[in-house]
């Protein structure tokens, strides 16, 4: 069955969303599910199960009636799968067991909605329609004792709200996933660590440095120092528009950490404005090895490493060994 692959994916998702046993219990408390609710749901289990088909159809019929939902109903296989999961959902809703298995099933359905591009509003509308139909039937069933019927329906409603909580969360989570991926991508491409000579790394920093990015820069630099066996690192901040005390502190931390790994850091490209504002702010950067521009920094680094750059055709001056 193709179902066998699904659980691992949805379990992964559960983990990503932090949907632990404790969190599920907390969510149940939020909607106020109590043991007595389970008894009430048991009373309506029989006829909801027998009418499940009908209710599921009402969910999808409602969607079919909406223009907004048309694109996602175009795929036959997707609708069939959603219908199947929805039916499972409804049966589980009245089954009385709302543990992590239940949450996982909801997640699977929610992920399917997210993939299909089902909007939160559309989902809520259709779900409400389905509950409305169930409510009508419950009231007919409990004609003689409407108060009981109402209680039973409200118990089911709690479960429904518990489900809505999960499904809305997953819809939002999936939508934000794209943003998170883009952020990661931007971070990756914006902080390259380049080896330009044996044991010499160049770290050009461009743009705005916030705490998170500063941390990322430091971490990737330290890793690069290890993998490239770097001895000198030139950090060029020409492209950094403003440096405040926080960023300056990060730079100092990076320099100290690199030193612990045996690498010397040279900072280049502090612009006149930045330098002046740092001095005005009274930020102590005397522990920093700074050189005016990138060229000067590279020359200094080469000197530290014992390289000498000569124009072709010139004979190297003799140095005592």
């Amino acid at each position: 069955m193709n179902d066998q692959l699904q659980p691992s994916a949805s379990q992964l998702l559960m983990h990503d969303m932090g949907l632990t046993e404790a969190e599920i219990e907390r969510r149940k408390r939020i909607v106020g599910i109590e043991p007595s609710d389970l008894d009430r749901i048991a009373k309506i289990r029989g006829f909801v199960t027998s009418h499940a088909d009908e209710y599921v159809s009402s969910f999808f019929d409602h969607l079919y009636g909406l223009d907004d939902a048309r694109p996602l109903l175009a795929s036959r296989s997707l609708v069939d799968r959603a219908r199947h999961l929805k039916q499972e959902h409804l049966l589980a809703m009245v089954n009385g067991d709302y543990g992590s298995n239940y949450a996982e099933q909801r997640l699977e359905l929610g992920a399917l909605y997210a993939r299909a591009g089902l909007d939160t509003r559309l989902f809520l509308g259709a779900f409400h329609q389905m509950l409305l139909n169930i409510g009508h039937d419950v009231m007919t069933e409990f004609q003689r004792t409407p108060a009981d019927g109402f209680e039973c329906f409200m118990a089911l409603q709690k479960i429904a709200f518990f489900d809505i909580g999960i499904i809305v969360d997953i819809l939002v989570f999936e939508r934000e996933r794209v943003i998170r991926q883009q952020q990661d991508a931007i971070r990756e491409i914006s902080t390259p660590v380049l080896q330009i000579r044996e044991r010499l790394l160049l770290l050009p920093v461009i743009g705005v440095i916030d705490t998170q990015r500063a941390r990322f820069i430091t971490e990737s630099l330290l890793r690069a120092v290890r993998t490239n066996r770097a001895k000198v690192v030139v950090m060029d901040v020409t492209g950094v528009v403003t440096i405040d005390s926080k960023v300056a502190n990060h730079v100092l931390q990076t320099v100290a950490a690199a030193r612990l790994m045996g690498a010397t850091m040279i900072v280049t490209g502090l612009s006149a404005e930045v330098a002046q504002s740092l001095v005005t702010l009274g930020i102590e950067l005397s522990g920093l090895n700074t050189v005016g521009d990138l060229q000067g920094g590279l020359e200094e680094a080469e000197q530290l490493l014992g390289y000498r750059v000569l124009a072709p055709g010139t004979t190297p001056p003799q140095v005592a060994p």
Binding site: T218, E219, L222, R223, V225, R229, L260, G262
Partner: protein, 124 residues
């Protein structure tokens, strides 16, 4: 776990393999102090490649080992600090002030060699 100190040419090398207790660190310091005199060592190297955590006490001990060694005429190199450890140390404000650092044992020994050469005698 005690740390063996190896004599390598004119240098004493201690490779730390597991997290050290306070007693271990004190023993290491005492061992170094006495062996530097016995072997007339020009330098000591402490290799931390295998460590994935270094607390403030250990850092202070490393510093005092280096200071004691300096008084006995030997330079100290701490080598092999892992990126994660370096980052954590800096965030805790631990910087091993005044202690030489190098990427690994090889670099540390090379660095010590050039240091002692400057002073006029060679590490053989």
């Amino acid at each position: 776990m005690s740390v063996p100190i190896l004599k390598l040419a004119g240098v004493l090398v201690a490779s730390v393999q597991a997290a050290l207790s306070d007693q271990d660190l004190m023993r290491l310091r005492d061992e170094f102090a006495s062996q530097i005199g016995r072997y007339r060592s020009a330098g000591i190297v402490i290799d931390l490649t295998a460590l994935d955590v270094l607390d403030s006490y250990a850092t202070r001990m490393l510093q005092s080992i280096a200071n004691a060694a300096k008084l006995r005429g030997a330079n100290t190199m701490v080598v092999g600090i892992q990126p994660e450890v370096a980052f954590a140390m800096v965030q805790l404000g631990l910087s091993l002030e005044g202690v030489g650092t190098a990427l690994d044992l090889e670099d540390g020994l090379a660095e010590l060699g050039s240091l002692t050469q400057q002073r006029g005698h060679r590490v053989r």
